[in-house]
Symmetry: C2
Subunit: 169 residues, 2 copies
């Protein structure tokens, strides 16, 4: 059975005992957690985030460059003042380059000119070094003019084998 065929049943069990319907829109801890889409990452339990406390932004790698629209909305409209960035061990972003993924897509869609142009226009933002990628992302957020002055920015790694975080910045 496909996942979408199970969603109503899975959600029904959750909704049956749901009692947090009065939480306000702005995150109570005034924090953004930025992390990877990886299936082994689950911020609420791993980082102790309760419902209503934090904005959680997730993309391939947990990369700030691809999260700027969301960060600006979070800070300017919803009052967050802290950003915590988590990249993780065994991340898919460590395993390829722009050339590799572009060549793969082109070979899978041979002869489709629209695909060639579209895939060449995307920077997939792969990174070769986990710790350096965290440092680079913290720097990007701290130095970006759209991010509010005085924002606290920290950078961390999460180990998918041990479940442990380590602070880098």
């Amino acid at each position: 059975m496909a996942y979408h065929e199970k969603i109503a049943d899975l959600n029904g069990k959750y909704a049956a005992s749901f009692d947090k319907g009065d939480l306000p829109l702005p995150p109570s801890k005034k924090v953004i957690v930025l992390t990877c889409m990886d299936a082994r990452v689950e911020p609420a339990s791993q980082l102790g985030i309760n419902l209503g406390e934090a904005h959680v932004i997730r993309n391939a790698g947990g990369l700030a460059k691809d999260a700027l629209r969301s960060i600006v909305i979070s800070q300017r409209l919803l009052g967050t003042r802290e950003v915590a960035i988590f990249h993780h061990t065994d991340c898919g972003m460590l395993t390829f380059t722009n050339e590799v993924i572009r060549d793969q897509v082109k070979s899978e869609e041979a002869g489709n000119a629209a695909i060639v142009s579209a895939v060449d226009s995307i920077d997939f933002l792969p990174f070769p070094d986990l710790v350096q990628s965290v440092k680079d992302d913290v720097k990007f957020v701290k130095e970006n003019p759209l991010v509010l002055d005085g924002t606290t920015v920290t950078g961390w790694t999460y180990d998918v084998r041990t479940g442990k975080v380590a602070q880098i910045v």
Copy 2:
């Protein structure tokens, strides 16, 4: 105490009983869940996602246009074949326009020319209608040439007052 000062302690409690260190990189359910960064959204519990099962992409609104890089990486390199898109009631994206947020940022950063240029270059992707935004996002994914043919795409709303989902597409 700021959130980052509590992370090590909160994570330590999780890691102490962590026993999922052998999960593989590709999501076992071959699914991408795309949803909003909103603090009242927590996909794992609300949608019954276990560790290792799904890529979870989150941004302001849960918008596919801002997730394309991640979707391509997920499908082409990590084998996902289904996308489930969730937007939610009381979303911040329903409350503003590009003009509103751009004017606000410019007034907060008066006189900074770099800010004016930077904020004008971002489409913040606000939407005025929740159900229509879900339909538009499903259409965007289904029609995008970079998304694999045969991908199952569903669209849903999540009600932050009741904890319940409803399928739109």
